[in-house]
Amino acid sequence: MSVLSKRKFPRQLEDEAIYIIREVAAQFDRPALLFSGGKDSITLVRLAQKAFYPARIPFPLLHIDTGHNFPETIEFRDQLAKELHLNMEVRYVQDSINQGKVKEETGKYASRNALQTVTLLDAIEELKLDACIGGARRDEEKARAKERIFSVRDEFGQWDAKRQRPELFDILNGKINVGENVRVFPISNWTELDVWNYIREEGIGIPSVYYAHEREIIERDGMIWPYSEYLHTTPDEIVQRRVVRFRTVGDMTCTAAVESYANNIDGIIEEILSAVISERGARIDDKRSEAAMEKRKQEGYF
């Protein structure tokens, strides 16, 4: 057993995240929490619940449903919303496609991951949101490592790395100009391991796809892809059954699985500690180029 596995969750991270979430509720008129169904946004829901307890979370959650989600995630989302009396707004990428605002990608690597930015920006406009809380972490990816906790976006949702506001001490400046909005990242300073330790210590429920299970997969480019009706396969790609789990949960078309028998949180944490592949290494969308994430962020991605 690795020495790090007995490590406890640094409680200071929770205090800081709650502080940030309370600042959002206080400084903005119409905030929302961007919910993806992944472990990071589930952690955010827990933090928001704690921040305002015994009152309910004073803002809605927003889920951009690509239509290619794992069914387990959707089931989990609806259950969580019911339990915590959440105001869950869902907007569909399919609607943006039907409206002709975006075009479905074609070919073997077709995914709706990039399309959801348009649906998100439309939803921000429709709901007049001035702040969107997201579960991004700085340890995920190089461009994320540079992002502020309050990250100002222009009317087009764009992130300008060179014009970021300095952030001093724990003071958060939420003043914005008309048309701008802010993306807020309360768990910026958490690592993947911190999130899992928190989930363990708090006993937070997560969608079943995070645990080892048997499912249909194909092998492509040295990665394990979950097979679904949305995945465009070539004739030489054979569907097999394999015991796998997901380390990160996005769309079924852009999230790779890992072979694993970890069926509880302790098992998952052990696995992360001994893993040689980073979390984002399982995100097919990041592999497109070295600067893939930064480019998508400039265009208004989460």
Partner: protein
Amino acid sequence: MDILRLNTAGSVDDGKSTLIGRLLFDTQSIPQDKLEAIAASSQRKGLDFVDLSLLTDGLIAEREQGITIDVAHVYFSTPTRKYIIADSPGHVEYTRNMVTGASTAQVSIILIDSRHGVVEQTYRHFFISTLLRIPKVLVCVNKMDLVNFSQDVFSNIVSDFYAFAEKIKFEGQIIDFIPVCSLHGDNIAKGSDRMPWYEGKTLLQELETTNLKENNDELPARMPVQYVVRPRTDEFHDYRGYAGKISSGIFKVGDTVTALPSEQTSVIKKIQKFESSLDEAHSKESVTLLLTDDIDISRGNMLVKKGQEPIAAKYIVAHVCWMAHEPLSIGKVYWLQHGNQLVKAKIDAIQHVIVPDTLEHQSATQLKLNDIAVLSLKLAHPIFADTFATNRSNGGFICVDPGTNNTVGVGFIEELYESVPVQEFAI
């Protein structure tokens, strides 16, 4: 499990990114795929070694120009603690980013290129470290391989640095020096048999043994109220909780507290942290306080322990680092944000600008980007601050430009007055 926050400073190419990369590499904190990715880009660039600096230089412009232009945050853990490193850029133009990266740091790592010795930037960075009252400064003399691991070179740099540092270091500030070679890892996480004359700790040992006691608990108890929790449900009909993060001191159930600015007092009935009730809560904890009396408290107010009230300051003197291209000018009005309190502030006077490397004072009518000066400010409403030297978590503020809403300056409070102090004119 505690957290230690570090920042790195030094001139361009002194090796900050390489040092951080090395620290991560030698503590096995870099996943295989990330390592492979930077190995591949090193190769594409025609290097015959793995350029560990590629780990933090994440922006497209940075990779093109090969420099760091914005603070990157990097994380690693040991069984002892979690580390958060702010990799601040060294270029003068980006001093504001260094201040940003250093504002939450408990340890500042200042790099010096052994071939160049102490340069203007070194003074600037140490000056900023003292201005920000960073308790511990570790001076890493890097690229020792390029000076034949010479003890003389190292000793000369130590005495040059100390000659300057002695003049401005604050009481209790710790300064240590380590000769390193980040490229090969000497004295980073492992010792070095190429510098047998060095008997001190490696960088990692220094970090692991840093005593974190910031004595925040011993300071006067202060909690800025962020949010008033009012469930308005049948079950919690009359519930009124004051939510906030304690900035310093300890609050206990039964303590008498004063609400500022109203100066009304009440007693703490309950300290709530989600579903559990605590007997006491310490600095940096996010809690909700319930009081025995229904007094009028809203966001921007502060709860303090009775008898420990700060003065209601409407006039302050502060060190300010200017962070905007638009200059600061006398008479201009800015938003001043202290904790979660926002007041209008008028620049009353620029007492002097400080030249960080010579400590010389210059008179000025404007502050330019990256200037550090002593200013006096007149406030439209009182704030409840402490001086930065006595209470780091209640003595800082930011300036926000009311036109652009950008954060344009950061201040460290030196003096607090209830009203404009009477000038002592020597006619």
